[in-house]
């Protein structure tokens, strides 16, 4: 194989593909939009960042302040609001009645109102437990200070909050916590993986069809370039497109969406490279099989959506039924997403992506064989 020929052909092919406005749109603009929209939609499920608790404090006393401090210490950002209309904008709401501090200190029952949109969900139940816990801690503080014969004051409450606990319960999990990623942590890798399929299948596949329809491949057949060199150059150009797209998405995820790559960028790079090669080979096979430009675009869009949805690009595969998870294990998008989740979210290392890498490599070899066999000049 003459590498010079492969270089000449692949450079031109890459430039030709990147010149197309459609390619630019689908490589650099649509992924940003999809990452943002899907990230925002899945973030509303309850994940991502510190949850905000809106508090309307009609009391303004020291026990109301202590209750808020306790809530903050349980992992919430307390947002104090003045009006009911403002309060209603938040999904987590707490109303402390007027006279709360004096009422508690005089031993009268007080009603603190807690409201959570979606309180029936798992995270809603967790909120309820935490708010109750904060209320109990405030009441316990009052009892503890009074039992020591001291006066309940902001200073004594503060001192008690900062005092080391007499009993600590240390909880250690029996294994790694496999919380399904959400928000941008899911949408950025998901859209990256799906759009590599979409761009390579449409742009990569369509360009091959155009070259065949317009007699460019027939013309190439009369040159000193061999069939293997042509197929190899088409593959190299498409791999370069995948690298450009993946690099763009990683930069976007890092600097715009501020997601965590789990400290595993080299392993993620390796996984994406092997995945990009697999999809590049698949796009050549699609280009060989498609009979027209319309068919190539249609098949490309259809396959990208099916592979994306079933492979776990749209939503975390960990939350779908077991049967759907098994289907994902049959698809290259599923292998890539499995590896991405392991590396980014579950604290795993290179060993966790060996099976996906092996599957993607086997897929590449099998499809390359088919692509080479089905490649045709006309």
């Amino acid at each position: 194989m003459n590498l010079r020929n492969v270089g000449v052909l692949s450079r031109f092919d890459l430039r030709y593909m990147l010149r197309s406005r459609e390619t630019i749109l689908w490589m650099f603009i649509m992924p940003v939009l999809f990452m943002f929209l899907i990230g925002r939609m899945t973030e509303a499920r309850g994940g991502g960042g510190v949850p905000t608790m809106a508090v309307q404090d009609h009391d303004g006393g020291m026990l109301a302040a202590d209750l808020c401090a306790r809530i903050e210490s349980l992992g919430y950002a307390v947002q104090r609001v003045d009006a009911d209309t403002t309060l209603a904008k938040y999904s987590r709401q707490l109303t402390i009645p007027g006279g709360f501090t004096s009422g508690v200190l005089s031993g009268q029952p007080q009603n603190v109102e807690w409201f959570r949109k979606g309180s029936g969900t798992e995270s809603g139940a967790l909120d309820r437990v935490r708010v109750q816990r904060a209320a109990f801690q405030t009441l316990t503080s009052v009892i503890a200070i009074q039992s020591e014969g001291r006066e309940v004051s902001p200073a004594t409450l503060e001192e008690l909050r900062s005092r080391p606990r007499a009993i600590d319960l240390e909880v250690v999990s029996g294994g790694k916590a496999f919380t399904a990623p959400d928000g941008f942590q899911q949408s950025v890798p998901g859209i990256l993986v799906m759009f590599v399929v979409l761009v390579l299948m449409t742009t990569g596949g369509v360009h091959l069809v155009i070259e065949r329809e317009e007699g460019l491949l027939r013309r190439l057949a009369s040159t000193p370039v061999s069939r293997s060199e042509i197929v190899a150059s088409k593959l190299v150009a498409r791999i370069l497109v995948a690298i450009v797209q993946a690099t763009f998405a990683v930069l976007l995820g890092t600097f715009v969406f501020r997601i965590s790559w789990g400290g595993r960028l080299p392993e993620i790079g390796l996984l994406l490279l092997v995945y990009g090669v697999a999809i590049s080979v698949l796009s050549i096979l699609f280009g060989n099989l498609a009979r027209s430009r319309g068919q190539a675009v249609g098949l490309g869009v259809l396959s990208a959506n099916v592979l994306g949805a079933l492979g776990g690009c749209w939503w975390p595969i960990e939350v779908v039924p077991e049967m759907m998870q098994r289907i994902a294990w049959m698809l290259p998008t599923g292998w890539a997403m499995y590896g991405m989740h392991r590396l980014m979210n579950f604290g795993s290392g290179l060993e966790s992506i060996l099976i996906p890498l092996l599957l993607l490599s086997g897929f590449t070899v099998a499809v390359f064989f088919l692509a080479r066999q089905t490649f045709r000049y006309e």
Binding site: Y16, A221, S222, P224, V225
Partner: protein
Amino acid sequence: MIEVENLRKEYGSRVAVDGISFRVEPGQIFGLLGPNGAGKTTTISCISGLIRPTSGTLNVRGEDMTRGRSEARRSLGVVPQELAMYMEVSAQENLQYWASVQGLSSDEVKRKVPEMLERVGLADRAKDPVKDFSGGMKRRLNLAIGLVHDPEVVLMDEPTVGVDPQSRGHILDLIKERAAAGCAILYTTHYMGEAEGLCDSFSIMDHGKVIAEGTLDELLSQAGDAIQRQTVPEPSLERLFLHLTGKELRE
């Protein structure tokens, strides 16, 4: 320079080319004529390496063209019937690409491409996308792509289809110029007047077979009275062609 011996190409039970033979010498323009479906394009496709013949020998500059990528391909230029070029990129980029594919070094590409653009009258439009060109300009660029690497053997499949007389004249002048420089040219066309003025000798094909061959004078004398009687005021290649291949329409 081009030697075709008993070339045969079958597609299943259909015989596209049935044992044809001819020879094109350096400096010669050889007209391969025939109605649609006669087997001309199949013959050119076999010589250019696009399809493998069923049997027969195909030698270009003494090298067997049926054995993979021979070195002879570097000296082979093909001007296909279709406009095989990248429409979204400029004429200059198209020529640079095809010149590189033909094996020219980057220095040669830098030298040859402007020369060729000048020669086909596209120098002032070199940087424009080809999609904006007229039909004649695209035909001239199609020709330039086939000639940019100075091939010693050129296969031309109807290179003047649908062009205006000016572009046609330009293209034919360039072909004659190449032949005068020693290039062996295999030329197919449906314009008999064009072939008559351009080609030194001919093979006329029909149904995959060569039904007549020789120079124009030889062909006309072979036809004898049959063509002479129909010829008013004088015999021509077009009349001879119709006499040999009939007047019925072909697909």
